[in-house]
């Protein structure tokens, strides 16, 4: 599948905006407590068929606990999980139409690659729904898979993850990347409705991780499965997921598409967690028809923002501006109403594709502006110690209230 068609399909895919769409997974008010500690705190979520959904958050935010409840390894303290309309609360892991790829891969060390992949297929009963079916029919598919069928499916899986030559090896004879692919093949072999991936790329090095991200995406499109991935790596989530739920302290802070998460963060936490951000504190002096004005001590002036917000006059608010949306100039802007802050170049971080300028504002505080390095060997027009003006358009940032 070429990247082009992939993109085209992805752009159109947004069942969460369609109120008539039936979710494949519905999480209702789910809570998990371990003693006094609340790992997952009253969360609700709908995940749709064929969606690539990411649970993103720092360690200890509850994302893994949530995934383990989906797989059936933890019982919820309160609330409910429905898969295909059926409550999972009393369904043990081996009867759920989900499979999980473990962070440690959890490959059976005493079995060959082939046996590992065949493991799920060789179980006597096959209650897990096939993806082709519309409903999960528990108990209807209780017959054993014929041996030839198992072999054929294992072969398919080996081909899918490009491990055919390694079929007879034991896990300890494989590299990290190969093990990861065995774990993936084993989890996919039963063609579950939902594949849960717990930090699937965590143990791989950077280069391999990036390659594997696209492989996973491709695979998910090809198989038409629902993938739910748990990760603490925002790049991973942004690259792969249709939607991302950012978790903190057991709760969802924001659930939206990667672009929305980046451009429309709903809190300072999200703005700061995803990518780089300038947060400028100020007081609202004007709020009318999508035009907000903020008075900020930090920039020493007004900031005009095109944004719809409920804030009242005099309220404290933050203007969030991504560094790449700010421009730098040695001269003051021609139009005095342009959003502007004056400062001195304090430091320049060269990242390769872009340079990040750290500007000490005259009023104190710092702002960052990142400028793409579009030409190769040109001397920087702006350099250390230069007094500069940072400017930005009224629609280049958002107003955050908390």
């Amino acid at each position: 599948m070429s990247a082009k068609t992939l993109g085209a399909v992805r752009r159109k895919f947004a069942p969460w905006d369609d109120p008539s769409a039936t979710p494949l997974i519905e999480i209702r008010n789910l809570t998990k407590r371990f003693g006094d500690f609340t790992a997952v705190d009253h969360v609700s979520l709908k995940i749709y068929e064929r969606e690539f959904f990411a649970l993103l958050g720092p360690s200890g935010c509850g994302k893994t606990t949530l995934m383990r409840m989906l797989a059936g390894f933890e019982d919820p303290s309160a609330g409910e999980i429905l898969i295909g309309g059926q409550s999972m609360n009393s369904i043990p892991p081996h009867k759920r139409p989900v499979n999980m790829m473990f962070q440690s891969y959890a490959l059976f060390p005493h079995m060959t690659v082939e046996k590992n992949i065949a493991f799920g297929l060789e179980m006597d009963k096959l209650p897990k729904g096939e993806i082709e079916e519309k409903n999960i029919a528990f108990g209807l598919e209780m017959d054993k898979l014929p041996k030839g069928e198992i072999e054929a499916r294992v072969k398919d899986m080996l081909r899918l993850v490009k491990l055919e030559p390694f079929a007879a090896r034991k896990p300890h004879q494989l590299s990290g990347g190969q093990r990861q692919r065995v774990a993936l093949a084993r989890a996919l072999a039963k063609r579950p409705k939902v594949l849960l991936l717990d930090e699937p790329l965590g143990a791989l090095d950077k280069k391999l991780r990036e390659e594997t991200q696209f492989e996973l995406l491709d695979l998910q499109m090809q198989l038409g499965m629902t993938f739910i991935i748990v990760t603490h790596d925002q790049d991973e989530a942004m690259t792969m997921a249709d939607r991302i739920a950012v978790m903190d302290k057991g709760q969802f802070i924001q659930i939206s598409s990667p672009a929305e998460l980046y451009e429309q963060p709903n809190t300072k936490y999200i703005a700061d967690f995803i990518g780089d951000i300038n947060l400028i504190e100020g007081r609202v002096t004007h709020n009318e028809r999508g035009r907000v004005t903020l008075d900020s001590d930090m920039t020493g002036g007004h900031i005009d923002v095109h944004a719809e917000t409920t804030t009242g006059l005099g309220d404290k608010a933050w203007f969030a501006l991504r560094p790449e949306k700010a421009s730098l100039s040695l001269l003051p802007p021609n139009d005095p109403s342009t959003n502007c802050a004056r400062g001195t170049v304090w430091d320049i971080g060269y990242v390769g594709d872009l340079s990040v300028y750290h500007i000490r504002l005259d009023q104190g505080g710092t702002m960052r502006a990142s400028i793409a390095n579009t030409s190769r060997v040109v001397e920087r027009p702006i350099t250390w110690e230069d007094p500069v003006y940072i400017t930005w358009a009224p629609d280049s940032g958002v107003i955050l209230l908390k």
Partner: protein, 301 residues
Amino acid sequence: MARQTNHRWIVTFIPYLWMLALFLIPFLIVLKISFSATVIAQPPYDPVFDFLIDSWTESVEKFNSLGLDNYRRLFSDSIYISSYLSSLWIAASSTFIMLFIAYPIAYGMARAPKSIRPTLVMLVILPFWTSFLIRVYAWITILSEEGLLNNFLVGLGIIDEPLQILSTNTAVYIGILYSYLPFMVLPLYSTLEKMDESLVEAAKDLGCTAIGAFWRVTFPLSLPGVIAGCFLVFIPVVGEFVIPDLLGGSDTVMIGKTMWEEFFNNRDWPAASAVAIALLIVLMIPIMIFQSNEARQQETR
């Protein structure tokens, strides 16, 4: 550099010296006695080598008088064969029973909260703080006709007459199971404890029931512990002497006891030595299997 090499050489040499002085030389002495003839003398076998006095020809002559008579006797007198078989049987069956007792204990320990695991290990090791001999003696007072167990059962009215447990094979089994249980539990515990719990979860996730996951994943992966535990128990139990002597009756035949009788009652040192050497050969086979298993383990790790 040269100096350091010398030091290293000493460090590696000391264990070998230890083995040579305390294992190989005594073994060779026993081996030599096993080829000697019984005589009423001090020491009670012939010939006695004395390299300081004997001339070369005398030594050669003495060497030539060594023979396999004692070993032939092992096969001609049924007491030896039946002792060996009975010992192997008692050791094998008690090892097997012990596996069934120890596995759930070890499994429970390995799945216990991490904070209390050291305490549980401690409790398993605790009996070693008292001498083995004293613990076996304690069983006499428990199992005897007027002992704790019988008094308890009679007191409860479960039985009218005290049970004859002491001086039977049952008492020997109880003694062996009790004494050797830690040697089975500890290796099992250490393999089960090291096992990644997500393996069992993965098995369940792929459609296994809890019992299925145990037999397909947990048990096969604990086999090294099972094998280690079985050998650690089986090998010493075959040669066990104290337990059958103290708890068993006259019909309890075990090779350790037979050897003891040859040595102390009959003062037949050569016969006792031959019994010991033959026992060693019998046990060499499982020990070698055990060692090759260990080596294979190391490879896969």
